[in-house]
Symmetry: C2
Subunit: 337 residues, 2 copies
DNA sequence: TTGTAAGCGTTATCAT
DNA sequence: ATGATAACGCTTACAA
């Protein structure tokens, strides 16, 4: 009766009622419990410091009020920022988030989904690596509602929340154009199989109306020499009449570009223009400050959580696509000249 | 028999054996199961795609193979880096980590610990805010093993893993001294009640043997004007014979100092020396590069996980203090002159 | 070596 | 309005 956490039986005994009554105290108090009994139960609960076991509840109810959140890489500030928004929204709706970090290791999605499913999560929020196709299968197997963040998967008709990539790219390019930066290089992590990267790259292509010209460079980790060469080529292409600028596909790329520029001894805003996706907190400190698209990460996370919770509350209907606008933060790296 | 996940009963039925036999297949296969029966069970498992429910197992066993990890702020790269190390070590030992993020909101520790305890976590790894004293109580109430990361709590006799703060501070100061930076300012987040900050501040004091001189400035969020004033005062104090340098207490402070220096129009490495705790990935990009102490975050997380798992495996004995060495990364901000 | 049955801490369906 | 009692999916004596 006393070792470990008190159970519903302990409370029932202490209050001199049945387990069912104690359970009702938590679940249907107003509707069907007499005030004096309720008071006795309350007293027993306080005295013992009782709290229901979520695990036992989940087992019995078949629902856990747990939401499974899979992130591609917890070390990536974007993932973390989104995670924060989602976690807060879930918590406010009475759900707890169970987190699974893929650590950027490919092929762990299935493991993640199954581990989470084992804990009877009621639904999934997925910010996956985006490659491979184990995700659709694994999710389908669970038959639980899902919302995708940032990266879509072919063959999955689920809710999807992300930045408006095309709109953000248009903002970046027209801003650069207005500043007189006409020879662009879009630097992205390897595109293959990742929807976000594909979309941004495609949007970059459509932004290249005359007088703008541009090309794309895929920057892989550790491949710094190639990036240096690409930047050198960019400036050569631009010559002395057209100003060269880099558009970075995300904060990881921004860091690589900043390192490269430093190594080349160039100055942002004069030797090379810059504007990129994501707005890391160190962006104002690099050279004259880096112009960036700040993603509404909180809203993305919150939107995803909302979508999922609506589904959990029975909302049915076609898969939704929620695209949120980025905010252009102008700094010296894109100064007109 | 078929809706939702298959259960142990489904497998038992399909294999024509009892539930107990299926259970034994997972838990005591070698010791007490005949090969042919094992094969039949295996076949049924494969056919149905069965996996045991961790929740039901936890309920039945009283142990969950879950470790509760509380982090002060998931947006803080230090927390995240430690988390990664801990998570990996736990996973390799067959434990899953259940994460609770305090989001830097004071007073949520108790909530966190109780929520985690509800899921029957076998033990806790705590990287808390460090203020208040709800933590010791809440933990004691659960009677489960605990290891503290980075911040200690008075009145808790538990394992503790952290950076060797005194050693790291000594490295920073003697490095600055060697470079001729003799007038120091230690900038820290508000010290009150946070053991790490207290220890580093104290260590700074003991480093100030002649010819070194120094003082301490507590920098609060949003209080930029005061920081600017403190830096100006530092340079004034130094005069023209002694070179002034800042020691930053962590990456958050480093960011603030970098912003302030930029605003003042100073140059790191000449107008102002710098060396700080934590080595964010943008440190090489600020001015001539910022000299930093890189914390062994992976090792800290892993060490904490190991400590806890040993306790879970029955290790008993006095509370341990594991202090790990930081690594000094020298860059231009502390250049001798 | 295998099966039976009683738990683990809840909720839900009956009665009363 | 309240109390038995059977689930929920699993483990573990105890029997056989």
């Amino acid at each position: 009766m006393s070792a470990g956490r008190p159970t519903i039986s302990d409370v029932a005994a202490a209050a001199g009622v049945s387990k069912a009554t104690v359970s009702r105290f938590f679940n249907h108090r107003e509707r069907l419990l007499s005030p004096d009994i309720a008071a006795r139960v309350q007293a027993a609960i306080d005295q013992l410091g009782y709290a229901p076991s979520p695990m036992a509840q989940a087992l019995s109810r078949g629902r856990s009020r747990l939401i499974g959140l899979v992130v591609a890489d917890i070390a990536n500030p974007y993932s973390v920022a989104v995670l924060r928004g989602a976690e807060r929204a879930c918590r406010e709706a009475g759900y707890l988030v169970m987190l699974f970090n893929l650590g950027n290791e490919p092929g762990r999605e299935r493991e993640a989904i199954e581990a989470l499913a084992g804990y009877q999560v009621d639904g999934f929020i997925l910010n996956t690596l985006g490659r491979g196709h184990s995700v659709p299968d694994a999710v389908a197997a669970q038959g639980k509602p899902v919302v995708l963040i940032d990266r879509r998967h072919t063959g999955m008709q689920t809710d999807f929340v992300a930045l408006d990539n095309a709109g953000a790219m248009a903002q970046l390019c027209s801003h650069l154009q207005a500043g007189g930066w006409q020879e662009l290089l879009y630097v992205t992590e390897p595109v293959a199989g990742v929807s976000t990267r594909r979309e941004r790259t495609a949007a970059f292509g459509t932004c290249l109306q005359a007088p703008m010209a541009g090309s794309v460079f895929e920057s892989a980790e550790g491949d710094d020499a190639a990036l240096l060469a690409a930047l050198a080529a960019l400036r050569r292409r631009a010559g002395r009449k057209r100003r060269p600028a880099v558009v970075a596909g995300n904060a990881v790329v921004t860091l690589r570009v900043a390192r490269a520029v430093r190594e080349l001894g160039w100055q942002f805003g004069s030797d090379l223009g810059f504007a990129g996706f994501d707005d890391p907190d160190w962006a104002p400190l690099i050279g004259p400050g880096l112009t960036c698209i700040a993603q509404p990460t909180d809203a993305i996370g919150e939107g995803a959580a909302r979508c999922l919770i609506e589904r959990l509350q029975g909302h049915t209907g076609p898969a939704r696509r929620v695209l949120l606008e980025g905010q252009l933060v102008v700094r010296g790296s894109s100064a007109p000249g």
